[in-house]
Amino acid sequence: MSDDAADVRRVLSGDVDAYAALVDRYYDQCARYAVRMLGNRDDAEDALQATFLRAYRALAKYQERDKFSAWLYRILVNQCRSLAARRTQRERVFVREEALLLNAPDDAASGWSGEDEEFVQRVLSELDPLLREAFLLKYIEELSYEEMAALTGVGVSALKMRVKRACDRLRERWERIKHD
């Protein structure tokens, strides 16, 4: 039995603290996706809280033949979609201060200033959400197209097209920067 399955069984047996092990195991990865997808810290924290709480409430529905990480990720992707849809009117510009706050200590110690972080986040935020989601799942979470399809409910060919278009957009932006 995997660590995940064992922890799920402990939670379902009444050991609530076993859920902390699952949160710890997947928090950082989920946090990275949420920040890259939503573009700011407050929304990412909301998405994480809703994701882990929703997964906890639904834990009895989790099937052990599924990977827990994939099941959790499906919830996270949907939470991020919902949050993104609810805040379409809000300012999406990623401010420098926010970028500095998001730097992990290790990166700060290695001289990573936050300027790259700010730039990357801004470039990602300029992508259409559909393209951004596909790009993040492919290149940041490094999922296969089959895994992405199972997670998003979108066909493999459509996902490949979205990733290609996302890369095209990024390249176009780079060309503009070089010529400015």
Binding site: V35, F52, Y56, A104, G153, A158, R171
Partner: protein, 202 residues
């Protein structure tokens, strides 16, 4: 190794975006505080475990003969159904066989039956906000006439769902042809809506 390795700029963006992020120091603590304030998730019902658990069945020679005769009969029926399906393969399209039925139960949950007619599918499962969109949580069962059905317990309210159909074109998501279509979420996978009322609970 990813495709973006062929493009240094895209690869640089991806590498930067893969760096870890740091959120508020107490964010995990707040998650666990919220979890502890939430009732424990309900364990699977014992009845459902009894139904799905493997078991050994001891039969007398007479009972075995009767059972074997019954299985042969079922096999003949399935054979007829398959032949019929093949005969009209080009014309078959997934269709709703009836409005998805809602049956009252004696608590706040409503028993709801989902149905889809798709004789050509090899597997169909139900996904929705009630099962966290899990492709494997709610498989549907095929009837002899090509319908796929499943019965689930739903709390009152609005639920969004879809079917995952394994067919000749691979695994595809599709809305329920007999139900209201959910507003487009912009992500390319159309869903359906079912409204489960409170009034029908008895």
């Amino acid at each position: 190794m990813t495709e973006s390795n062929q493009d240094p700029y895209v690869e640089w963006i991806a590498a930067e975006a893969r760096r870890p992020v740091q959120l508020a120091a107490d964010a995990r603590v707040r998650i666990m505080d919220a979890v502890r304030a939430t009732p424990l998730p309900a364990r699977p019902r014992r009845g459902s475990r009894w139904l799905t658990a493997p078991r050994t069945l001891a039969l007398s020679p007479l009972a075995s003969a009767v059972l074997a005769a019954g299985l042969v009969g079922i096999g003949v029926l399935v054979g007829i159904s398959t032949t019929s399906r093949d005969g009209r393969q080009q014309a078959e399209q997934p269709t709703a066989v009836a409005a998805n039925a809602q049956l009252p139960v004696h608590d706040s949950l409503q028993v709801h039956r989902f149905e889809l007619r798709d004789p050509l599918a090899s597997n169909v499962s139900l996904v929705g906000d009630f099962n966290e969109w899990s492709a494997s949580a709610t498989p549907m069962e095929r009837t002899a006439d090509g319908k796929w059905t499943v019965t689930v317990h739903l709390p009152p309210g609005r639920h969004v769902y879809a079917f995952i159909v394994d067919g000749a074109k691979g695994s595809t998501w599709m809305p329920d042809p007999a139900a209201l279509r959910a507003p487009d979420d912009g992500y390319g996978a159309p869903n359906s809506v079912v409204l489960v009322g409170q009034g029908s609970a008895t």
